[in-house]
Amino acid sequence: MSTRDEIVEFIHHETHLMNAERYDEWLGLLHEDFEYLMPMPVLRDDPAQPRHSERSLLAWESVSSLTLRFERILTDFAWADRPPAFHRRHLTAVRVAETDQPHRLAVSADEIVFRSRVPEGSTITSALREDIVDVSGEPRLVRRTVLLDVDRPDLAQIALLY
């Protein structure tokens, strides 16, 4: 069983690989059942109601769909990524908690994602990232849910991975 410090380090490493575009290595940190979910932000009148939809997911990726996503970037025809965007994820307040499942930890982090690309300009997007990490062996990401702090997302904010 990993210590909390090791899990925090794992999350920082994983985020660093994404920032460095070392996607093959990043894929290696995913559990085979990995799911990447981005629920649609929803404006409801009542502040007690959830701010994100439970059924409408803007993104729902798996290991195989992410693998294709990264393979595409390597082809000569990934027009939306040629030239590539500048992007960087900044993490803060990484928290580790038990879950009711053995060998599964809940990790959350506050995240700021910076992205810049002509002609869309620069966007700074804040999000809450909620992960489930499997710690039965080497730590592996089992699920990542991205809760955007944006009520009307622009494509420039959602077209990259958090």
């Binding site: 981005m38 649609m40 929803v42 404006l43 409801r44 009148d45 939809s53 059924r55 409408s56 997911l57 803007l58 993104a59 729902w60 990726e61 798996s62 195989s64 769909s65 294709l68 996503r69 393979e71 595409r72 082809t75 025809f77 990934a78 027009w79 939306a80 990524d81 002509v118 002609p119 869309e120 009307r152 997302p153 622009d154 494509l155 420039a156 959602i158 077209a159």
Partner: protein, 432 residues
Amino acid sequence: MPELTVSVDDRFDVPRAYFADAGVWRQELEKVFRHSWLLVGHESEVPAPGDYVTRKMGTDEVILVRTEAGELQVLLNACTHRGTLLCKADIGNSSHFRCGYHGWTFGNDGTLRGVPRGRELYGKDFDKSSLGLRAARVSSFHGLVFATFDTELCSLAEYLGDMAFYLECMLGVSAAGTDAPYGSFRFTHLGNWKLEADNLAGDGYHLRHAHRAGFEMGLMGAQAGAVEGVCVQFEHGHALRAQRTAVDDDQPRAFPGYPEDRWPEIEQQLSPEQARMFAHSTVVHGLVYPNMAFVHTPRAGGFDAGETDAAMLQVRLFNPLGVNETEELNWLVTPADYPEEWKLSAFKTMQRQHGATAFFESDDLENFRRMLQVNGGVETGHQVPANFDLARDVAPFTPWFDGPGSVVGADISEVNQRWFYRTYLAAMEDRA
């Protein structure tokens, strides 16, 4: 209304100002959007009395609501007192809408119900009945809800006209009707709305280049082998493009992507010519003029092993927030009574291939926004950027079905784009 005669020799230009000038955008809203039936949502988004979603018709804020009596209403989302936005949420349920400024209260049918201290301050002859919210004409087509504030415009059925033949192929396969099981997806992006209309109306030419990565990675399914297709134009500016697969009349008809036990129902729901058209099409996409598009792919598979084979129908709406910015809404539309896992598989395909975050879609949107970068140029402004000459002289092939509309036997052609811009320019230049 321009005549429905799309001559292949019909040469015309679309000046760059139409994609760059904010004044053009205001005129479009007046001349095109105000006089069209506009998609506002799907009936399943507001199933119960009081359910509402807020939407835009062009730049007008509206509320799509199911009244206490169960009727669908589309109300202008602006208080009739001082005109402030009435309902600020995206979604909710309420028997009434109360204005945050002076507290006027409207029933969800739009009638003005309450005016704080009304009798005392406005007198006993104050006529509340003339101060209800403005209601649009509302009409549904297989679950899709359309609205218009134009009282002169023909009925929705007449507006869709022969396009209904093809829309029914996708929306009418189940006797139980349609569903939008995952709600709506809303996001903004850079780019002029007409480029998206143009692309989705019938651009078969860009596929092999803009989406080349998709072909190279083997993601294009039956489209990769498809060689022939049709472009179809309809009155009021609508257009559709369909690619076909091989047709073997000795084989029983199949509907790839649909559960096999539902095939007899599809045959029953559609006319024989509709079934023939639909069964042998790979991708079908098109434009319901001016700003609704759809993409249907028969064989999908959300890229994961062991997934249910499910066809995908995405309905898209693009509202111009300005000459350079578009607000887009997407829905997955499915037969209402199909299994959950079928809907889920279709949903994954939609989001991974054609959704806002999908890598496939990103290459289209990249092209739309790159036009902005050159719009400011003076020399560029004098250059007419739009060439629509494609497939003026290709030998037509005979379509595999007998369907209505102006059916042109050419898969890769700009005949649909010419038709879209001709209809659009006629409205803009008051020739409609």
